[in-house]
Symmetry: C2
């Protein structure tokens, strides 16, 4: 594999996820923090207008705007679709400042801990994720790959990179402990890429626990689309914990339990993410796999 | 004191605090739940447009629109100021459905537990608050009274009533456990008012712990108004816990601690409330007092 020449650290892809925004601002005040000898590090606040109004987005979710056909579609002209084109034309393939590696910083109201979300199975990405799990047991690795479809996420502008999803934290607030943990992960990634460029990556174990996203579950809704139940208290904040068939996942407003009807143990994530109510997602269901790294 | 004839239960004064909204919707589906023999119970979603867009408010914070001079000011005509006038003309003094008691349901990203916020020291309010603390140790009583000023809050439309502030919960999500605890408090209030009307209120202890709001503390900010520090990890989620002079309250993005400079032990609340960043409030400082009830 060729060396990494340019890294872009992105905050504020969602305007109400403050951790990435304030971390990028910090790096812009103190650029030496993200400098390494073998590559250039750039920063980006991806959705400044959404940040200005304290919302996830202005017109549409920026982190669903990066499908290649959408980036090439001149009829898509709202704020976020235009913003996505500018970002791709800057940092994407053949961009004016083409990046080799992207770190996209997010937070969640779900208890995602320190999640490394990978959009592809490139060896560098996987080995980096394995390294991060080895230095911090709170790190979990989540695959959002889909063999039959391209992904519309910002991190797809580069072959290498990841989305960092940190939580639980409410929208529009900063949690100092999670801010510091996020910053430590960014530094660990940059240090790893420096070692990679120098042919000196640290050894990691042969296998990696990977949570592979296989489906989503929506809230029970009535004919008007209104939700009729909440995440069950026994499931709340239990992201990445095993969920067995027959265990409760929802509680209706009238107090009736709704049980998980799957036929095997799964590992829900993004449980009760605020931004996913409108997307029809109460949780994402993952399977735990043990990936051979080499 | 005269009997309570009409109670209004309000949700959605802030459009992104879902617990009250979904609880009011439940009561509207099943009105028998809030019926009692000696008074009428009504419900209100106070800010439906803010709820529709998933925000605290459309134009301005509805829960700061109830000063009498503002309600009588014909020049105030944005959505929330108009909505406040309609609510006051309906449920306020001389209103078409004048209420004697208001329960305004809120949530907070701060760890407010089950807070009963009182805007005045009427004996019924205080005795009710004492009763609620006696049946649930999670209940805290917070005074937001101010002897020199009227209050702009919705609950000021009635002489009797309270604001219920529940947390920690992120904006735009439901937490099932807190939903159920909120509902239990509402039922306890209605049952207490029924007993009050029947001259049969339960006995409570002679003194009540009351947290009295005395000042607010803003985040450290630069000349542009941008915050320069976060709530210190040791203070996060420690609402109602004692804060001693010299203990850390903020942590700058560069990792420097900022200490509390007061000269006595206080009890911060609304620590890291998302909606208060724009109000210049990082926390509200309270003093703990022991109020004689009789």
């Amino acid at each position: 594999m060729s060396k990494i020449k340019r890294v872009v650290i992105v905050g504020g892809t969602h305007g109400n996820e403050l951790t990435g925004i304030y971390l990028v601002k910090k790096f812009e005040r103190s650029p030496h923090l993200i400098q390494r000898s073998s590559f250039e590090s750039l920063t980006l606040i991806a959705n400044p207008r959404a940040y200005a109004i304290g919302k996830r987005y202005v017109d549409t979710d920026l982190n669903r705007c990066f499908l290649r056909q959408d980036l090439e579609n001149p009829n898509l002209s709202n704020y976020e679709t235009q913003q996505a084109k500018i970002i791709y034309q800057t940092f994407g393939a053949q961009g004016s400042q083409q990046a080799d590696f992207v770190i996209d910083l997010h937070t969640s109201t779900a208890n995602m801990g320190l999640s490394i979300i990978l959009g592809n199975e490139n060896l560098l990405n996987i080995q980096l994720a394995a390294y991060l799990t080895s230095i911090n047991p709170k790190v979990k690795v989540l695959y959002s790959t889909n063999k039959n479809q391209h992904r519309p996420h910002l991190d797809s502008i580069c072959e290498f990179g990841c989305t960092l999803e940190v939580g639980a934290v409410a929208q529009n607030i900063l949690n100092a402990a999670l801010f510091q943990e996020t910053e430590e992960i960014v530094h660990a990634i940059l240090d790893y890429l420096e070692a990679y460029n120098q042919g000196n990556t640290p050894a990691v174990k042969d296998t990696l626990n990977v949570y592979h996203s296989i489906q989503t579950i929506d809230y029970p809704r009535n004919e008007l689309g209104e939700i009729q139940a909440m995440i069950h208290p026994q499931l709340q904040f239990r992201d990445y914990q095993p969920l067995h068939p027959g265990e409760p996942i929802f509680l209706t407003f009238e107090g009736k339990e709704i049980l998980y009807k799957g036929d095997s143990t799964v590992y829900p994530v993004f449980i009760n993410e605020a931004a996913y109510y409108e997307k029809g997602i109460a949780m994402c269901i993952t399977q735990l796999t043990h990936k051979n790294i080499t």
